[in-house]
């Protein structure tokens, strides 16, 4: 039974034969579990990830949902056309330690595995030696096939024959994704057998040889493709043409006689390499297809990131940043000088490429400085800056007992301000994953995993855009990632109370470890793990957390490093299961020094279980030892716990609609887009003439400008000011009008003429009214009148001057939103509020920011993040050192600038591509302010708003945290 199998793999024996996975309908919990079990625990007894468990019990299993995985593999096939040195097909033993996806299921298992599987594995292993042979050839041929996706299956087109000189037989390799599971329940083989059903190739035994019955099968006939079945993998890959001859499958020669047997050996969804013989037409358009063509074919939703997590493409990615110097080294400071060997002090080093060569060569500098400077200046060394040729490289140090971690990063990617934070985070992540730096670096079998770890690390820092290749995410904001990842907090999404309560209840149910018939108690076993807590992510937002803050940060560091959060938001994750032993920092540190009377943390081992399903991801921290039975050896994940988490996630899926609704809701607090505050180019000219000839507007302008500083008005009033002093109106000192950028406004203009009468002016006003009234009718797309597509959520605070009937409070209530800024208009562009007690921060969701798209706004957001780096560094420098070193309290502000409470910078921006040279470009100024708040709760608040009304950040922070009830 499946259940028995699952228990066995953890090494426990069953005292009673449990029928636990039966069909008990005690409560909904069990019901969902059992239904889940019955579907999965079918003939295929084991969960898919079971094979991926490594020797030390760790598991990293990522499976995308079906459609996406096919695309992923298709892309992998496409990319493989280029002859690169992929290291993944190494000649290593089957026990490959790097994290791989199940399609390279090469980990040997000691369990008794079905013979079919073994055969499949042998088939796969045979693939390796011939990899080179096949891959190098016909790269061009593959390209040519790819470039014409709606494949002309009939390759022998008459048209192509002209000009053909030679016809040759050529071998080509095609990768096809086969899914035997799709054969479905009705596995009655079709007439074509598995060849048709699974692959989609129609082969008719030769009729031409005599008039014998079709049943007469000739011996050892070549498998030529006579037809392709629609919607089959063969057609989908686009490279199998009619007339090709199938020569080998995974390097096993196939003929019509053994093809069925070979195909039946394929155990699960996997990629298969087919060798086909085809007739090439030399002189056809098979040349000149560059990889760019290949890349633009389709739009595979799977990103480079996923492939990197699967362990592919590491070599390629490494080479692409080979020219940028970067390195990580673990050096030993104590040398056995009796027999100094070359490079003996390097305990670990990555990467082994020319990027790091120079830095490796000067490691003597790092060792010497580390040794010497402590005595000279009285502090441990933190960083150095070096010039390699023309590039500035910052090197961060971390000394631990007698060893030194050295991380070198290019200065343009990581400013020196933040280097220490980055190094600290990496060290903490490694400590969480391995317990201590020594155990991380010094064990030889950790090396490949560390290579993968640092490959991810460098890729994220040095070329993050490459990782987003192929996915729909916007280009990453480097400063933004640095800043947000460096915060000791996780991004939080506020949910409506009903949903939040349900989420919390479901999580609490899970954490109570009451698994009913699946629990250990039912089987008379001691409890295996105590669930210390869990946290739940939806897309990349944290929606519920029952972990203590330090543990949450540890888990979050791990997730950040492996990019699990963007993964959940962009891809639809079919299944993600991660299991490893972790060493949470706050628990590890207290274990050694627990001589104080009273409660002390139990000595136990801690494990992290992360399960992801579609957009949800739950991270659970488990403890073995203490209350639960001690963990012996390296236990792998327990299937029951994994299933329980999955069941929890399935339960939560009903709430997905509610959460999506929350994400689609208009932003609260209300946000403005930067482009709205920049006067548009074209429309202004026409509106100037309109304003100048209309006395009505001058009166209105006068009235309005008296009350506030004129920005409440519209563009017309801005022009009014312009008439008085041409220079000043263009600069944004508060006389800006409310204008929509660019195209939105041109639809107003046709209605006006240079000699507009007051009637037309009033008509204009009327139109504006209807815009706002359209807005007040609902938060749907009311901007249609003016063809402003981005105005999905018209800013209710952008009121026309004549619609002053609603007070601010009423507006807030009507639209269920809140205005954070003082002043009549909403001038808030962006904000980040970090609460340090819970370890969370809130910021506008990505969707809200995307909706405010404009040309200046994304730039502004990037600028905001870059500035926040500086502000945060200013806050950090003045605080007593928390974190890694012992706290030295600053003495009486006698050094440095002293503790900084608030820091703000005023920026000025202009639209790019300003083509009108007659007039100077319009400008807009905005503030980026950071404030440290110590009461009522320690918080850090960063805000960006338009410079029209002076704001007090403390008030804004209070309004924000009060309104959101964090």
């Amino acid at each position: 039974m499946a259940f028995a199998n699952a228990r066995k793999c953890t090494g426990k024996t069953l005292s009673t034969e449990g029928n636990g996975a039966g069909e008990h309908d005690n409560d909904s919990f069990c019901e969902s579990t059992s239904s889940f079990n019955s579907s999965d625990y079918s003939d295929d007894l084991e969960p898919e990830w079971l094979d991926d468990i490594q020797k030390n019990g760790e598991l990293f299993y990522l499976e995308l949902s079906e459609g996406e995985e096919e695309a992923a593999l298709a892309q992998a096939a496409a990319n493989r056309g280029v002859a690169t040195n992929h290291v993944r097909f190494s000649e290593k033993e089957a026990e490959i330690i790097t994290e791989q996806n199940k399609k390279q299921r090469c980990s040997s298992r000691t369990k008794g595995e079905p013979t079919l599987k073994r055969l499949a594995r042998i088939l796969r292993r045979k693939r390796r030696p011939s990899q080179r042979r096949g891959g190098g050839k016909d790269g061009g041929k593959e390209n040519s096939n790819l470039s014409s996706p709606p494949a002309s299956i009939l390759k022998n087109q008459p048209g192509q024959r002209q000009g053909v000189t030679v016809q040759q037989q050529q071998l080509k390799e095609v990768c096809v994704y086969l899914n035997p599971k799709r054969l479905g329940g009705s596995s009655t083989p079709l007439s074509g057998g598995l060849l048709e059903a699974l692959l989609g190739v129609v082969h008719r035994p030769s009729w031409s040889r005599g008039q014998g019955a079709p049943a007469e099968v000739t011996q050892e006939e070549r498998l030529s493709v006579h037809g392709l079945i629609p919607n089959s993998p063969a057609i989908k890959c686009g490279q199998i043409l009619i007339g090709d001859v199938l020569v080998a499958v995974d390097d096993v020669d196939v003929t019509s006689e053994n093809i069925e047997r070979v195909l039946s050996c394929i155990p699960g969804p996997t990629q298969v390499r087919l060798m086909l013989e085809t007739e090439a037409l030399v002189g056809s358009s098979s040349v000149g297809n560059t990889s760019s063509v290949r890349k633009t074919k389709g739009s595979p939703p799977v990103s480079q990131l996923v492939r990197l997590l699967w362990g592919e493409d590491t070599a390629e990615l490494q080479m692409s940043i080979g020219h940028i110097p970067h390195i990580v080294m673990y050096l030993s400071l104590k040398l056995d000088s009796a027999s100094p060997q070359d490079e003996e002090e390097i305990l670990y080093q990555y990467p082994a490429s020319e990027a790091s060569g120079q830095l490796k060569g000067v490691r003597g500098i790092f060792l010497t400085l580390c040794d010497m400077l402590e005595n000279v200046t009285g502090g441990r060394i933190l960083s150095s800056s070096l010039l390699l040729g023309k590039q500035l490289v910052h090197v961060g140090y971390w000394k631990e007992s007698n060893n030194l971690v050295v991380i070198g990063l290019p200065a343009e990617r990581v400013p020196l301000l933040y280097l220490q934070m980055v190094v600290g985070d990496v060290v903490r992540t490694l400590k969480v994953m391995y317990g201590s730096l020594d155990s991380a670096f010094c064990k030889a079998d950790h090396a490949p995993r560390l290579d993968h770890f640092f490959c991810l690390f460098f890729q994220q820092l040095i070329q993050p855009s490459r990782l987003r290749d192929g996915s729909s995410a916007p280009t990453p904001d480097v400063s933004g990632t640095l800043f947000l990842d460096g915060l000791p907090a996780v991004r939080w999404l506020t949910l409506p109370p009903e949903i939040k309560m349900e989420v919390d209840t479901v999580l609490s149910d899970f954490e109570s470890s009451d698994f009913g018939e699946m629990s250990e108690d039912f089987f008379g076993l001691r409890r295996l793990y105590v669930i210390l807590g869990s946290c739940l992510f939806y897309k990349s937002y944290l929606i519920a957390n029952h972990l203590p803050k330090e543990d949450l940060l540890d888990v979050c560091l791990y997730c950040q490093h492996y990019c699990l959060l963007p993964l959940a938001s962009e891809q639809r994750v079919g299944q993600l299961v991660i299991w490893r032993e972790v060493f949470p920092q706050q628990r590890a540190s207290s274990s050694s020094s627990s001589t104080a009377p009273g409660y002390s943390q139990p000595q136990g081992r801690h494990f992290l279980l992360i399960v992801g399903l579609r957009h949800f991801m739950q991270c659970v921290l488990l403890e073995a030892g203490g209350c639960a039975s001690p963990a012996l050896g390296s236990p792998g994940p327990d299937c029951v716990y994994v299933d329980q988490v999955k069941a929890t996630l399935l339960q939560l899926e009903v709430l997905e609609a509610g959460i999506e609704e929350r994400l689609n809701a208009p932003p609260a607090p209300c946000l403005s887009c930067a482009d709205w505050f920049l006067p548009a180019a074209a429309a202004r000219d026409r509106l100037v003439s309109a304003a100048s000839s209309s006395p009505v507007f001058s009166k209105l302008a006068g009235a309005v400008k008296g009350s506030s500083t004129g920005y409440r008005g519209r563009s017309l009033f801005g022009e009014k000011a312009r008439r008085s002093s041409p220079q000043r109106s263009l600069s944004d000192s508060g006389s800006e009008g409310q204008m929509d950028a660019g195209a939105g406004q041109t639809s107003l203009a046709p209605g006006l003429s240079p000699h507009s009468t007051p009637e037309s002016g009033r008509r204009l006003v009327g139109r504006r009214d209807s815009l706002t009234s359209g807005g007040s009718d609902g938060s749907g797309g009311s901007g249609g009148l003016f063809k402003i597509p981005r105005r999905k959520h018209p800013n209710p605070f952008h009121l026309g001057t004549l619609k002053k009937t609603l007070t601010e409070r009423e507006t807030e209530e009507m639209y269920n939103t809140m205005k954070l800024t003082s002043g009549a208009e909403n001038t808030l562009f962006h904000y980040v509020l970090m609460e340090t007690v819970q370890g969370i921060f809130i910021a506008p969701t990505n969707r809200e920011v995307a909706q405010l798209s404009g040309s200046i706004h994304p730039q502004l957001i990037r600028n905001f993040h870059h500035c926040c780096l500086s502000i945060r560094a200013a806050f950090q420098q003045s605080l007593p050192a928390r974190g890694r070193r012992a706290a030295d309290r600053p003495q009486g502000g006698g050094w440095g600038l002293g503790p900084v409470k608030e820091h703000g910078v005023l920026f000025q921006c202009k639209p790019e591509n300003w083509t009108d040279h007659r007039k100077p470009a319009p400008t807009m100024t905005y503030w980026v302010i950071g404030r440290m708040l110590l009461e009522p709760v320690p918080q850090e608040f960063y805000v960006c708003f338009h410079d029209s009304v002076a704001e007090v950040p403390v008030e804004m922070a209070f309004r924000l945290s009060f309104g959101l009830a964090l």
Binding site: V362, M372, E374, G378, I381, A411, S878, P890, V905
Partner: protein, 441 residues
């Protein structure tokens, strides 16, 4: 065991080729030779691998900065960090200021060495012992640069000439022009209280670093107490190989005038004839000038009462005016204002803070490309901004600071905590317009 006390800086000078130490200056105890050798050694080792080690930072704000000049002289500055330890996580913020300070120091020291000895002697080192002996004449200047004890002189840091705005500039300007002309020279300046009160046009056209150094030299010469002197100088950017004579005359205690001239006139002739001719009728004007005192601003310029300290830089002419005031109307019960010395320190720190992060400097034109490349490295953060920073402010527990930059000026203010934050901008803009309206700036 720590060799460098808190806050102190050691300066090491060695030959770049062989690593022979030339001198070591600094307040605290000299570093042992082994340390000096290692510091030089790591740099040379890196150089052999085509890696240029430029700086290094330790906990607690300690810093080491290396720089090689003209491939012949290596200067290393080691700073021991601040008292207590304000830096911790991300402590680069605090000692980034330190690094800029040390970089400036190295540049100034090199320029000062060239000023005194000429570039030829420094680049072609034939006799190391002789060079060591000659370098002793630089020591007073170098010590002045190192200790930076003089309050109110920020020129070393900003590379802008510290100025004093006299109440009657035209008279003084005429006098200086005439005096310089009579001395067969085009370069002349009047220094009051260590700051330039008036100078010929050509003097302002010298590289800012030269102007700053000449002022420093003048200060050290006048500190020696002599009534006049004749000192040979090489201009580091203008004429590093050809010497000029710097003739300095003391007019009144606290007021000196100097000219840069060629072989003529002789000191005696100038002193007896020319000085008296031009400067005797202006004694009263000079006394008025001296009365301006530390404020550096003429009485016609009134500052707002809530300005604690200010530093105003004219970016085009590379001149600066700075002062720290004692506020009389500070209400009791409010947190105490920082002391004068602390105000100067805060002003300097805030200047470095703002210019390293937000306000790019347009450096002088005659900076060699190699130096520009190295200096550009410390400004890599500023380039990360896609929009231009205009103003910035800081609120700390001692005071509030406000900095703003326009195309012509940079202004840095210290304001007491009692002033509300939203009013800072008004204070700054008003102060700027008040001072800019004054003649002569």
């Amino acid at each position: 065991m720590m060799m460098l006390q808190h806050g102190s800086t050691q300066l090491l000078c060695l030959t770049a080729s062989s690593g022979v130490p030339l001198f070591t200056r600094g307040a605290s105890k000299q570093l042992p030779f082994s340390v000096i050798g290692s510091l030089n050694g790591v740099h040379m080792f890196g150089g052999g691998q085509e890696v240029v080690l430029s700086s290094c930072e330790t906990e607690g704000g300690g810093r080491v900065v290396w720089r090689v000049f003209q491939d012949s002289v290596m200067l290393i500055a080691v700073s021991g960090g601040g008292q207590g330890s304000g830096g911790g996580q991300g402590g680069a913020g605090g000692s980034k200021e330190e690094e800029v300070r040390l970089q400036r120091l190295l540049e100034n020291v090199w320029s000062c060495m060239v000023l005194v000895l000429g570039q030829d002697e420094l680049t072609n080192v034939r006799n190391v012992e002789r060079l060591k002996r000659d370098l002793r004449s630089c020591f007073s200047l170098i010590d002045q640069l190192l200790e930076d004890r003089q309050e109110g002189i920020l020129g070393n840091l900003t590379h802008c000439a510290d100025s004093l705005l006299p109440p009657n500039p035209t008279l003084l300007q005429e006098a200086v022009d005439g005096f310089a002309q009579a001395s067969d020279s085009e370069f002349g300046c009047l220094i009051v209280h260590g700051r330039i009160a008036a100078a010929t046009e050509k003097w302002w056209r010298l590289a800012p670093q030269e102007v700053v150094l000449l002022s420093a030299l003048m200060r050290s010469l006048s500190a020696s107490g002599s009534a006049s002197c004749d000192y040979p100088v090489f201009l580091p950017q203008g004429s590093p190989t050809v010497a000029h004579r710097l003739l300095r005359f003391q007019l009144l205690p606290g007021a000196d005038v100097c000219v840069l001239c060629g072989p003529t006139p002789s000191l005696h002739r100038a002193e007896s004839g020319i000085v008296g001719r031009f400067w005797t009728p202006l004694v009263e004007t000079l006394r008025d000038c001296l009365a301006v005192g530390e404020r550096c601003l003429p009485p016609s310029v009134s500052l707002r009462p809530d300005v604690l300290a200010l530093l105003l830089i004219n970016r085009e002419t590379r001149r600066s005016v700075s002062c720290v005031r004692t506020l009389t109307n500070h209400p009791l019960g409010d947190p105490p204002l920082p002391s004068k010395a602390r105000c100067w320190e805060l002003l300097k720190l805030f200047y470095i803070f703002s210019t390293t992060r937000y306000f790019t400097q347009e450096e002088a034109l005659c900076v060699s490309p190699e130096e520009k490349a190295q200096r550009g490295n410390t400004e890599d953060f500023v380039l990360g901004f896609s929009h231009q920073p205009l103003q910035c402010y800081l609120v700390t527990e001692e005071c509030k600071s406000y900095g703003l930059q326009t195309p012509q000026h940079q202004l840095f203010l210290l304001i007491p905590l009692s002033v509300p934050t939203f009013a800072l901008r008004t204070v700054a803009t008003q102060t700027l317009s008040d001072i800019v309206a004054a003649p002569g700036f």
